[in-house]
């Protein structure tokens, strides 16, 4: 009965977001036509959460809520990136959802709760909180995909996402229960200790690990658990696709780090080989399948699969034959990769949102034809994004790939690095095809591009950041290194 009131200070950002969500809910319920108020309140929530996170960041690893919540530098940086990307997503999609009449307080509520879910996942030190954060995120996303109720495609996508997502959650839970059975704890740090002390036979642990990795792979969207990605990306409204494609990847990375590195590091040899298998398949399938896609949303979906595969390469090369020297570099390169991927996805879907207008969704290659003639500025921005995604020097995407490959080579998997480079070359084909279509084809649609100034500025900043960080990747690298330093 000796219960001490937990320390709320480290979780101040989450508490702030929850409190603000109630404010948004209440204003949305009781004020008429409060959509733009909801929008600004949501943006304020994200900004406030960022301020709180920065303010409470002390560079220590703090556990609270009976060790279920962990506050460390990696969590803080991932969260900051989540706020940034969600805020950008909302900014980009405002006019899109306004045109399609799906803008509502509920939409913003779901986005806030998805953000909260990501924060919880990133800060989880316990299977329960990890799972609840994941469900909070997924449930909000399922509903968001279905917001366009009259679109059969969106409903179908939501259904697929929901059914497969439920299956993945089931796998994850099953794995967690196995791990619980084998270690007697749900707390990640205790599990790590239990595995360390246990030694000997690891059959049950392995059994649980397989299921946990499968569930994780689904959330990351890597082969062979990628089936939902193309359909959901294509079916969902572009604004929601943008959300699904960006911030949740950060959360999934955080979850992978918590589960595999904080919890199951002793089993690194085993999960590394599993992840390697997934990574190789994803890079191959993602890049090859993307070539055949005329639909840009679908193509970006496949490209996302290959990018996540690439990110996994970073996680794969952490431990070599029990030697942990490479771990720091490898994991920070993976984190850098996620950061840069999120930046690029935001801009890529941002351009699609710019080109869409009421009654028209820009989503095929055709729609990009001759973009240079319609707006050379946006065509330039899109070109930057595509170059960066293809991994052409000196954009951020190049450094991301480069650092991951360095880690892979350092850990001795030279063939893997060669394979990844080959596949990236194949991938470059479809990215460059987009550039070719924009600059060398005749436009089929000459209607002017009308976008709010805020969005133009944000999109330009986003694309320029991709270019600029490509030239000065140092401080992002530094952030990733600092975050990872704490885990070891």
């Amino acid at each position: 009965m000796n219960f001490v009131i937990p320390d709320f200070y480290p979780a101040a950002a989450e508490l702030f977001v929850v409190a603000m969500s109630f404010v948004v809910l209440m204003t949305g319920t009781f004020l008429q036509n409060s959509r733009s108020l909801s929008y600004y309140l949501t943006q304020f929530t994200l900004l406030g959460a960022a301020v709180v996170t920065v303010y409470t960041m002390d560079g220590q690893v703090t556990l609270t809520f009976t060790n279920m919540y962990v506050d460390d530098l990696m969590g803080d940086f991932l969260k900051l990136m989540v706020y940034l990307s969600v805020a950008v997503v909302l900014l980009y999609s405002r006019s899109y959802i306004g045109d399609r009449r799906i803008e509502s307080t509920e939409y913003y509520m779901l986005v806030i709760y998805a953000t909260l879910g990501m924060m919880v996942m990133i800060a989880a030190n316990h299977f329960l909180t990890l799972y609840l954060g994941l469900e909070l995120l997924s449930l909000s996303l399922y509903a968001l995909v279905a917001t366009q109720r009259d679109s059969a495609r969106a409903t179908e996508a939501a259904m697929k996402y929901f059914v497969l997502g439920a299956l993945a959650s089931g796998l994850l839970l099953y794995g967690m229960s196995m791990l619980y059975g084998a270690t007697g704890s749900l707390e990640l740090s205790r599990i790590a200790q239990a595995i360390y002390h246990q030694g000997g036979d690891k059959t049950v642990l392995m059994f649980g690990l397989v299921f946990v990795v499968a569930g994780l792979a689904f959330k990351l969207g890597v082969v062979p658990f990628h089936m939902w990605i193309p359909d959901v990306y294509q079916g969902a409204p572009t604004s929601v696709t943008l959300l699904i494609a960006s911030a949740p990847k950060l959360a999934a990375f955080g979850m992978a780090m918590r589960l595999l590195v904080n919890g199951l590091f002793e089993l690194a040899d085993q999960w590394q080989s599993m992840l390697m298998f997934l990574a190789v398949l994803s890079i191959a399938l993602g890049n090859i399948a993307a070539i055949a896609q005329p639909n840009l949303k679908r193509m970006l979906g496949y490209s996302g699969i290959s990018h996540m595969g690439f990110m996994l390469l970073g996680l794969v090369s952490g431990v070599v034959e029990g030697d942990r020297h490479f771990a720091l570099n490898a994991y920070s390169s993976a984190m850098f990769y996620v950061f840069s991927y999120v930046l690029m996805t935001l801009a890529a879907f941002g351009v699609l949102l710019v080109l869409s207008r009421a009654g028209f969704d820009a989503e095929t290659l055709e729609d990009l034809k001759g973009l240079n003639k319609r707006s050379s500025w946006f065509a330039g921005m899109m070109a930057i994004v595509m170059f960066s995604m293809a991994g052409i020097p000196f954009f951020i995407g190049f450094y991301a790939k480069f650092s991951v490959l360095l880690a892979v080579v350092a850990s001795g998997y030279k063939w893997l690095a060669v394979f990844a480079v080959m596949m990236s070359l194949i991938g470059a084909f479809y990215y460059l095809r987009v550039v070719k279509v924009m600059f060398f084809d005749e436009p089929q649609d000459s209607s002017p591009i009308a976008t709010p100034a805020t969005m133009r500025v944000a999109l330009s900043l986003n694309a320029l950041a991709i270019a600029a960080l490509g030239l000065l990747p140092g401080w992002v690298m530094w952030i990733c290194d600092q975050s990872m330093l704490q885990s070891f």
Partner: protein, 200 residues
């Protein structure tokens, strides 16, 4: 075999048979009702394990609320079973293969001595007057308050999502608003005019 064991085997048999019928019953309403039976018997098994709160909560939440709504929906749907069953035989080989593989894996892992239950300490005997419900309540609101509150937010999201996906304001509907009807005062409907008496 003592009384508890008999009850356990009885309940367990019912759970297994009912669960089998859930997936084999041709009529979806029957399947749902068998699921109810399975939940109910599972509640009984939990009761045997002295988890009376969980057992009752299972019956209350799943049997009393979730499955009622589920039945509600299933009864209203006109499910064409013939069409759903098409392709059953073509999917059977691969489905059976996966099933057998998973079963084999589970048997290898769980059926062996590797599960290592011996290093998990036996739970302590309950002292007299031990209340499962009280203990659960204490834990939920102290040690597990964070996941507990998160779970409540997950439910809130489900509620918001349900509202967002189903609430439509249609202008053409002539539904009455009970709140407005109740708020009506006599003066809104009837006006009493005093008139002078008239001569014939």
């Amino acid at each position: 075999m003592d009384f508890q064991a008999v009850v356990f085997y009885f309940l367990a048999t019912v759970v297994v048979l009912a669960s089998l019928r859930v997936i084999t019953a041709k009529n979806p309403v029957h399947a749902a009702l068998f699921l109810v039976l399975a939940f109910f018997s599972a509640g009984g098994i939990w009761m045997l394990l002295h988890a009376e709160f969980l057992a009752i909560a299972l019956v209350m939440v799943y049997v009393g609320a979730v499955m009622v709504l589920f039945l509600f929906v299933v009864m209203m749907l006109d499910i064409n079973l013939e069409r759903i069953r098409q392709g059953f035989w073509s999917y059977l080989p691969i489905g059976a293969l996966i099933g057998i593989l998973m079963l084999a894996e589970m048997v290898v892992v769980l059926g062996s001595r590797y599960f290592g239950l011996e290093h998990v300490p036996q739970p302590a005997e309950f002292p007299a007057g031990y209340s499962n419900t009280k203990e659960l309540g204490r834990l939920l609101y102290t040690d597990y308050v964070y996941p507990f509150e998160l779970a409540s937010i997950v439910l809130l999201v489900a509620m918001i999502a349900a509202v967002a996906l189903t609430l439509r304001k249609r202008k053409s509907v002539k539904a009455l608003d009970p709140a407005k009807q109740i708020a009506v005062k006599r003066d809104d409907r009837v006006r009493i005019v005093s008139m002078d008496a008239e001569k014939k």
